[in-house]
Symmetry: D2
């Protein structure tokens, strides 16, 4: 993924490790491993009672591309090791197709040779690599005052309908960090947590939506057709397991609007050209308008639940009902949020490198 800032993912959930190669990182960046570790910690399992009980240190290790604490311009390889694995349960269910899990698709694609343990290559754990790359991208973007922020927009039917300005959101950053589910609405967050607790009791799972906003992305970047910002962001976001939809600006609501409602009027404000509202989500014709880039993603409920389900035994070729078990998240939202932010950072940085807005060697 990427044309200059390129990322290559490798590793499996229950293999030796999970990693990422980030090529095209400008030389001369102060390498802040603490920041990367901090980002990874947000995606780490076992953060709270609301996430899977798998325990991983997820200590980030740097294998290449950094010298005397600066990036060199060479590919950076970052890895985290796998430790708390329990593969026996996967072996037990090997011949049963878990509903809405990758089992059947993978069987057909890889002819039975794929690593089935912990969903192997399809595990959400793979996204740790995206987060590590994104943490580098965020550091570079920040030098250009570009920040990215995502939060829990809904869990099941509990929706945070409020429209926040970017400034408000930034003030709520600390709140989000302390919120178990990364919401920024106090009242809604209580209901969301209650809903998840209830779902845990039912051995079930629940979906949700995430809103993501990028501030200060300059106008005039991106392009029409295949090079559109939406094309590149959506491609990156759908690389995250469990995503079912994405909409920019007014999104699906735009489909119900008239042009006179949806159009964002241009206005001069303090000598700067901007729009009075942002139903376009900061992008028109695939190119940035200078307004915040805004989009919402739909995340499905985790497929792994503790309730008996109908499925097929591929060995005996019989219809069966079976109860799968294992350690899983009741809701993906809190742990997907850092991944969505990271992927957005990776895509936006690539655009700015490609257009020469950010140079290939950074000033100290």
């Amino acid at each position: 993924m990427g044309k200059i800032f390129k990322i290559t993912s490798f590793g499996e959930s229950h293999g030796v490790l999970v990693g990422i190669i980030v090529d095209g990182v400008p030389a001369g960046l102060d390498f802040d491993l603490k920041f990367i570790q901090n980002e990874i910690d947000k995606r780490k399992p076992g953060q709270s009672k609301l996430t899977t009980s798998r325990l991983e240190e997820d200590q980030v290790k740097v294998l290449s591309g950094v010298f005397e604490n600066k990036t060199t311009g060479a590919p950076i390889c970052l890895v985290i090791e796998n430790k708390d694995m329990n593969s026996s349960v996967y072996r037990k269910f090997k011949n049963f197709l878990r509903p809405s899990h990758i089992d059947y698709s993978a069987l057909r694609k890889y002819g039975g040779f794929s690593d089935f343990r912990g969903s192997g290559r399809f595990s959400g754990r793979i996204t740790s690599g995206f987060v590590m790359a994104g943490a580098i991208a965020k550091q570079i973007l920040k030098k250009y005052d570009i920040t990215i922020f995502a939060y829990t927009h809904s869990i099941g039917n509990i929706i945070d309908e409020r429209v926040y300005s970017f400034d408000e959101i930034e003030r709520l950053y600390e709140f989000r960090e302390e919120s178990q589910i990364r919401a920024i609405n106090h009242e809604r967050s209580i209901l969301m947590v209650q809903l998840i607790e209830q779902v845990i009791k039912q051995k079930d799972s629940i979906g949700g939506t995430i809103k993501c906003i990028a501030k200060n992305f300059p106008a005039g970047k991106g392009g029409p057709i295949f090079n559109s910002i939406e094309s590149n962001i959506s491609k990156a976001i759908f690389s995250i397991p469990g995503i079912k939809g994405i909409e920019f600006g007014a999104g699906f609501k735009a489909a119900r609007m008239k042009g006179s409602e949806h159009n964002d009027p241009w206005i001069l404000k303090g000598g700067k050209i901007q729009t009075t509202k942002n139903d376009s989500g900061g992008i028109i014709g695939g190119i940035s308008t200078g307004m915040p880039i805004e989009f919402t993603v739909a995340v499905k409920p985790p497929a792994s639940i503790g309730i008996p389900q109908k499925t097929v035994n591929t060995k005996t070729m019989e219809n069966v009902e079976i109860e799968f078990y294992g350690r899983h998240d009741p809701c993906l939202i809190p742990r997907v949020i850092p991944v969505v932010e990271a992927m957005t950072a990776n895509v936006l940085l690539d655009f700015l490198l490609l257009e020469g807005y950010i140079p290939r060697v950074l000033e100290s």
Copy 2:
């Protein structure tokens, strides 16, 4: 776009022509120009009172890649010429930023050098090229019994909520072709047409949604992460001007569901493994399940309306109110439908060529 079946778009709305290069077309395909013309006619302006009054013949010309009525394996260049252009109106409004139009983004990206006439490179007319490429892709997919069908799911608040089986949809093909707005629900289509007629009277415009289904796409194609079917389809779909969102299977509804509702149970039916429902949209883990591939896209209301709007004069740098006029569509849906089908065909064919499922030389 594409790895084997590659398309390269060129041309402008008010330039000489609009065209497409399609590379990677297997050799030996009977080249059916009539079919391509027929697909282009579905996207053509002036089809009915519900579309723009620009009149174009849109006659498809073949410039390369076909010999003795067969594809040769060489790049195929297809073009349509521009004839009924009226550029004076665009020249008049040159210094005014049309709200939710590409004017400002393009100004910032191309420094004022882009062809502003008829939105130039950003015009929906560019998608004619996608349709021509898609018409080739459809012909090849059809040899493998893979068909793609899109229809109007909603116009404004008029929504066709019915869930159709693919067989039903196929029976409704003729109905859709005769429907001015490419709906397949008789009753709803009447309301939709009425809504558009009302919008025309108001000199306004209206958005809508499109549902697209692909049948008989084989299981086990696509891949995890960056190679996911969703990543590739969404990238292609967001290349179409006016798209604000995309969702696969249950999509944003999945975000409100529990795992026990959303999971698609596996079942043996006639010796074949399938799911009893298709909330996954035919894709799990980025890979096809063998069930129909289903997605919905949100299309914004056209930005061009005949109602006075607030904006900025970039020459005088003043806030102004202005009424733009020109020939435009009140609703994009009917003409975007063939484009969505075409882009889906382009993406799905590329996957099948890439995995060797469809060979590089076709049998007669």
Copy 3:
């Protein structure tokens, strides 16, 4: 080919036309069609008695990407039409494999569906597209004082061994333009012309070598491994039909040298770091050193000759001896020279756009 400055080739030797799409051209360039036409004229058939007698006007037409005589930033489509075609001869020899021609390879790849007339897609005529793209690239590079110059280094055993400085070469530009074979050495050029005239009498053909030099390409561009300048230039050069080899700097001579001979000593001269000689060809570790980029390419003798040759009739599957005839070049060198220059320009410009050295919008 290319990452930002991307070219897509289409057309066939005996089809409607031959063309090129050039994407990624910076906006705001004064579009000099005369210069492009002038470059194409250098590659045109029928320039002198030493080239094929096929007569083509090769008038360059602009189909997109230019508006009010400036580049817009949109893809530029340039074409030349085919007129003086005589396909009957190709039809006659359809079942015979011309030695060292594409017939057999193409048969195996395209299953007999490829356009065999005039070698179709494999014709040297395809390189007209490269030259048109290169003419655009040269115009942009010239704004940054970067010039590219190629000349005839040898025809058969007549070799121009002299080492020219770039300044000398520039003074010889006019000479080259008037030389029928694009040599810059007066005495050698006479012998070269004599050799070709002799080869024409023998109905045979002859190979040769071309030296190409690029001046003022800035230091520090390119990259190690897959992004090396040599990798990218060689990839582009081997896209030209008839090329058998490429060497940079001392090239194959370096293989016979000791390190103490081959190493280029660094020296400060006028405050500027440079090397006292340039056996490295201006590239070390895949990255430019600021010295001229120099390479030599080997061009094979044209496969089309008028002497009886042994081959196979693929219809009867018999060994036969046959005399092919048609209109062909006795030596490719003079007409390949503008192609080599063009391809070098395309590659070097792409590097400079990719590193942000040349911006995406040009100042007037």
Copy 4:
């Protein structure tokens, strides 16, 4: 590099490790780590008195993509660690530009941030990754009876002019393995070794050429223009540090030949269409002919020598004469041979996967 069989290189000479990610490896291959280790051992430093005295175990470790001893279809990450590093010498010479070394180019590209120790990212050690990838590719190609063989064609002026049939070469495989310099000509190999020993005494270095042949590569693979086999092989080969030239088939000799000499006549032999000789090097029009693919590469003498050299001190900006020292190879040829073979395997496999000749899941 690559479209399906993609390799991503990372690591530095004096960093933690050197590695490669190989994506697109078909699932179901018996993973033969011994074979990979064996290939790496051929490139390992310290094999004989004729190579650098750096001592590395170069033990290959598998970090991902293999499960129950089979490839899974997921990216395979292979690494070797760096152990015997002596970086102090590089630190000492940090401000001096080593002639024909990467120092100046890298300084200009990376602004002084690159890892200078042992040439860091530009070290020949990076090619270990290519060899590991190539070892996987070779295993797959072998299942389809395709073998690749490279040998020492010349060291300095000692040239092995003999033309070997592929069968002869295969019989000489053991001889090459035991030869310190990977030559296959007994008499010449003695002279080559003597020459290198003499060069070592002089603290100098020497260049050479390598011939590489691939047998049983099927006809009809590759493509015209940018997709030519030569374009792809040359791109890969010039990724190897120290390569100055490449020629296919008759190569630079073809430039001196007439068409009647160079053309390879077609002949029916045992019902099979083939050529009586192979000056085309198994490729015509960028596409394979079914004859062996043959090419020769020129390798420069190592830039590191123990003789005083003129250069510049970039700190004081003065011309100086200095004697660099360190542990280096007197001649790169023996250790580059496995790299050339590996890169060829990587490219050829990618072509066969891309054309569906080799499936994405291998039969046991």
